[in-house]
Symmetry: C2
Amino acid sequence: NMPVPAAQAAPKVTKKSFKARTDYTTNPSALALLNIMHGKQSNLAVAVDVPDKKKVLELAEALGPEICMLKTHVDVIEDFDMDFVKALQDLASKYDFLIFEDRKFADIGNTVSLQYGKGVYHIADWAHITNAHPVPGNGVVAGLKQVGLPKGRGCLLVAQMSSAGALATGSYTDAAVKMAQENKDFVIGFISQKKLTDDEGLLTMTPGVKMSGGGDGLGQQYNTPESVITKNEADIIIVGRGVCEAADPAAEAAKYRVAGWEAYQSLVV
Amino acid sequence: NMPVPAAQAAPKVTKKSFKARTDYTTNPSALALLNIMHGKQSNLAVAVDVPDKKKVLELAEALGPEICMLKTHVDVIEDFDMDFVKALQDLASKYDFLIFEDRKFADIGNTVSLQYGKGVYHIADWAHITNAHPVPGNGVVAGLKQVGLPKGRGCLLVAQMSSAGALATGSYTDAAVKMAQENKDFVIGFISQKKLTDDEGLLTMTPGVKMSGGGDGLGQQYNTPESVITKNEADIIIVGRGVCEAADPAAEAAKYRVAGWEAYQSLVV
């Protein structure tokens, strides 16, 4: 009989600390984010998708101490104005978090440069971080970079999505990684379901996180903080309705922060 | 010697008339568009991507008689307000064209339903047609449809793009076609480089059209009206800078309308 080989234990997943990873990027927003994460012991971002600026600001005030980043969709806010932006910037300074406008730019370079810099929102003037779909090709990054890089902004590429039947898979995801690596001065990482590259200068941020798992009625599918960090090797968990629709969002955010941070700490060498 | 087979002529491309195609859709915006195209003898859409509402309205007034559809990016307009929307709606009625807000929605269903119906723009309240990237999966259509269908709106899926290195190819494009066919009450066609299905109820609209061909410095690549209609079998040509940056936009639009319409007429049976 042939000897049965001993089962090999999977190599233990390890991570460099967020502090150590500041050596691997030059982007000002990525550096600020890594330092905030280290200082606040938080790899929690919260997505506030509510159509009312007062409610967004209340949530930002309540969640500020727990989060490294607040994810906004300013284009769902009915009463948006520049006073709202100023108030949000003040809260970001007060509690030391970055603002990530989840615009998902997805047009040709000429168009996204206008959408990012102009219009009612002037996103490039206040969002430390924004994101783009790689589907238009490299021009989408070129167009955004032209506007954002001189302002010290950073961009994430949506390399995968958490929704059912998403088409960001396989060679599409690979192309997003390549696009990021070729634009590391401006692209600081990914929106994805798991770590996609060993490049320590690119951050993995994962949405669709909820302690209870499950889904919504419109295709969203949830993962838990622990599985996202330890199994999928993400850096930052993005939690939306799991925090914002809780009876006590601040207390719930604290739970997610601890869950995310402990999962991260269990991997750091 | 083996006899050399006679070269087979490629089967002549033919099209049903736009009028005849009203039998193949029930969507109110698609029906309105087909009737306008037939009545005005125009399969020309013009993209006005300027950051100034006065300039958008001047172009809409000048181009109105030539076009079946005006394509807007309201999120690049610095001085956007609801007076602008009202003025644009009045011009759409006066000259009988539809408004297509080229928002390229590309998020999960819950988010796009808010972005489409709420926010500063209330796009669903005034844009006859909008569009979406299929990348999030079917939820993006489900979320938009929930808001748009009760208002009689139509949606296009971005199945291909004209920009260099675009990732909307192969199985991605195939998935967009399937998503459209499964949502024909709301999805009225595609933004694509060529005809993708024989379904007469789905329209093909092709951007990146310029009489001179060529490109810009940010990855855009242009095709001529004739090649887009006769070779790629599109229904509607979308012209941007080729008209809007001309010395006389109205005269230039007239040339594009004639070029697009004659190309179409050469195929109609």
